[in-house]
């Protein structure tokens, strides 16, 4: 947890800066709006954290979010009665995609970068094959409540954070981190490495389903809803000091990374660095954050040794 302290300091600084530039931010409504906006990315970051800390990547979450929203719109097609069945289906889709990603990665030993890159192509291809190129149908009001009403989004976010922390404190979390740190040692200690990794992917899939429900609810159907979310989620996790390659980092810090990212953009916008240069600023900040975090840690080799 010690290595997570910088991200909280940075986040606090950003929040203060935002409040200074925009006092509305301090009002309950303003802060609620911020939380509502962060919620999907924070939830995705939590899901991505499980995968990354176990030593893998999940590049498919962006497409999965799109799939969730597009499927929901087409199946609900404005019919309120369909809301709950479809919500259940979305969760099942998320879990299933995670399961397949996890099984292909662990059982077929395809590097997860490739597995989930393939999944990304397959998911976005399949869903638009099904709808003929662009979203169809419409979401119901009942479905949209979750994303539109701040309290719901915040409640779900809190639930996810609590669940993630509890999971990481449980045996599952500890063995997951150990598997990410040293797969072989974990295996030889009786850890079901494949199983915990698959579970991590399933959690990531689930987080994409939840994020999809929130995003779809927030702004309605659109083909771009999930675009590049995978990179954002990974960036958030890494900003939180979680190490790509696994074995190090805290889930709360990963979520704080998502908050930081979102706060950063809010601040950039407040100061008029919107549009073009915004990306350049982002790029520099991401590199700088990781460089500063990384320089402090000695890189210890993990290759086979004779001793």
């Amino acid at each position: 947890m010690k290595r997570a302290i910088p991200i909280f300091v940075v986040l606090a600084g950003l929040l203060v800066a935002i409040a200074a530039a925009n006092p509305f931010f301090l009002e309950p409504a303003g802060f609620l709006a911020f939380l509502k906006r962060v919620a999907p990315l924070a939830i995705l970051a939590a899901g991505q954290y499980f995968v990354i800390v176990s030593g893998e990547f999940d590049l498919s979450v962006g497409s999965l979010v799109t799939v969730e929203v597009v499927v929901a719109a087409r199946l609900i097609d404005g019919d309120e009665a369909m809301t709950w069945p479809v919500l259940v289906l979305l969760v099942v889709i998320g879990l299933l995609v995670g399961l397949v990603n996890g099984l292909v990665t662990t059982k077929l030993r395809v590097p997860s970068f490739i597995t989930t890159l393939g999944a990304m192509l397959i998911l976005s291809g399949a869903v638009f094959l099904w709808t003929g190129g662009a979203p169809r149908g419409a979401l119901s009001q009942g479905f949209r409540v979750f994303g539109r009403e701040g309290v719901w989004a915040v409640a779900i976010l809190v639930l996810v954070v609590v669940a993630a922390v509890l999971l990481m404190r449980a045996d599952f979390g500890r063995t997951l981190v150990a598997a990410g740190d040293n797969e072989k040692a974990a295996r030889l200690s009786g850890v079901r490495v494949d199983r915990v990794r698959v579970f991590a992917f399933v959690l990531s899939g689930l987080s994409a389903a939840v994020a999809g429900i929130l995003l779809g609810g927030f702004a309605g159907v659109s083909a771009q809803v999930g675009q590049s979310l995978e990179f954002q989620a990974i960036t958030a996790v890494v900003l939180g000091g979680v190490v790509l390659g696994g074995g190090r980092g805290h889930v709360v810090a990963a979520i704080a990374g998502a908050f930081t990212l979102e706060a950063l953009f809010t601040l950039l916008n407040l100061h008029g660095i919107s549009g073009a240069l915004e990306y350049a600023v982002q790029g520099v900040i991401i590199i700088a954050a990781v460089a500063v975090g990384g320089l402090r840690l000695p890189s210890l080799r993990l290759s086979p040794s004779k001793v």
Binding site: R109, I114, G125, L244, G283, I287, A291
Partner: protein, 317 residues
């Protein structure tokens, strides 16, 4: 069959031939023909991706990867087209400037990864964002103009063979030679295999990684030039629309190069790119929906890597 799969490079060429055969049959069944013209089209189509993928092979073999190539391609196409400004006399300057910009980006990638010790994924993603910011800031749309002379690069043929394909072949052969016969090549494999072992053995690993990135970016630069010559102008979205970042990585891995580095080579990558291009061409012939194509691509990539993993995995455990 087992012998074929034993070596990923051989496997990808076997798959390539099989795809050609099946594609030919399917197209024939569909009432069309697969002509020499289509084969030329395949080379033409694959040239840009092929050149980027060859560069990406270097980065991946060295244990890194480059997510910034797509934006770099866009940037290079614009820099080149603007420098040329429609004048044949500016071609040489433009090529030099474009490649200079590429080399600089590669240098930044390499230095951030080695000196600042930022994971390649984040480092090159960050650099990609920076380039994107610059592009968005400076360009609103296609800009510059490529003189007709330079468009020859993208359109001319020598006999039946497009110049672009020859360019691709030359880049691939050059990098192949570099990897197989030079010290640098040996060291790329060493650094990708185990950076610490390489360092302790006296390899200046940082230099190798930086050089690999510079070469990778130069390849992207060449692809950017090629695309500028095809488009007749520079375009700020040509790199990302083509998806050259992830597609080049996919092609490299499809060609049997290990994503972790240290294993594989250019020959496999060439096969991987051709395989993707043939798939594309067959789908085009059959007028298959582009979304279906994405699904098939995704499946092909995952299945191929699973097959390689089965093979190498058995030995390791």
């Amino acid at each position: 069959m087992i012998a074929l799969v034993a070596n990923p490079t051989r496997a990808v060429y076997a798959a390539l031939i099989a795809t050609l055969a099946i594609g030919w049959a399917l197209v024939a069944f569909d009432g069309g023909t697969f002509t020499l013209n289509d084969l030329v089209g395949i080379q033409q189509r694959s040239a840009a991706l092929g050149i980027v993928a060859v560069g990406q092979t270097l980065a991946i073999l060295a244990g890194s990867l480059d997510l910034s190539v797509a934006y770099l391609i866009s940037l290079v196409s614009l820099v080149a087209a603007e420098t040329m400004a429609g004048q044949s006399s500016n071609i040489l300057t433009a090529v030099v400037v474009a490649l200079g910009v590429s080399a600089l980006v590669g240098l930044v990638n390499g230095v951030v990864i080695t000196k600042l010790k930022v994971h390649a994924f984040i480092a090159t993603l960050g650099v990609a964002l920076v380039i994107r910011g610059v592009l968005d800031h400076l360009y609103d749309g296609p800009a510059g103009r490529v003189p007709v002379d330079f468009q020859q690069l993208g359109y001319a043929r020598i006999g039946p063979i497009p110049v672009a394909a020859i360019l691709w072949a030359a880049v691939a052969a050059g990098v192949w030679f570099l990897l197989r016969r030079t010290r640098f090549g040996h060291r790329v494999y060493a650094v990708g295999g185990d950076v610490e072992v390489a360092r302790l053995s006296g390899v200046r690993t940082d230099r190798v990684v930086i050089a690999a990135h510079v070469l990778c970016s130069l390849c992207a630069g060449v692809a950017g030039l090629l695309l500028a010559s095809r488009l007749g102008a520079g375009a700020p979205t040509v790199g990302t629309d083509g998806g050259y970042d992830l597609e080049s990585i996919a092609a490299v891995v499809l060609g049997g190069t290990a994503l972790a580095g240290g294993r594989g080579g250019v020959a496999g990558t060439v096969g991987g790119v051709l395989l993707l291009a043939v798939l594309d061409s067959v789908f085009n012939q059959l007028e298959v929906n582009s979304f279906f194509k994405d699904v098939v691509r995704g499946v092909v990539i995952v299945v191929a890597v699973a097959v390689y993993a089965r093979r190498t995995g058995r030995r390791a455990s």
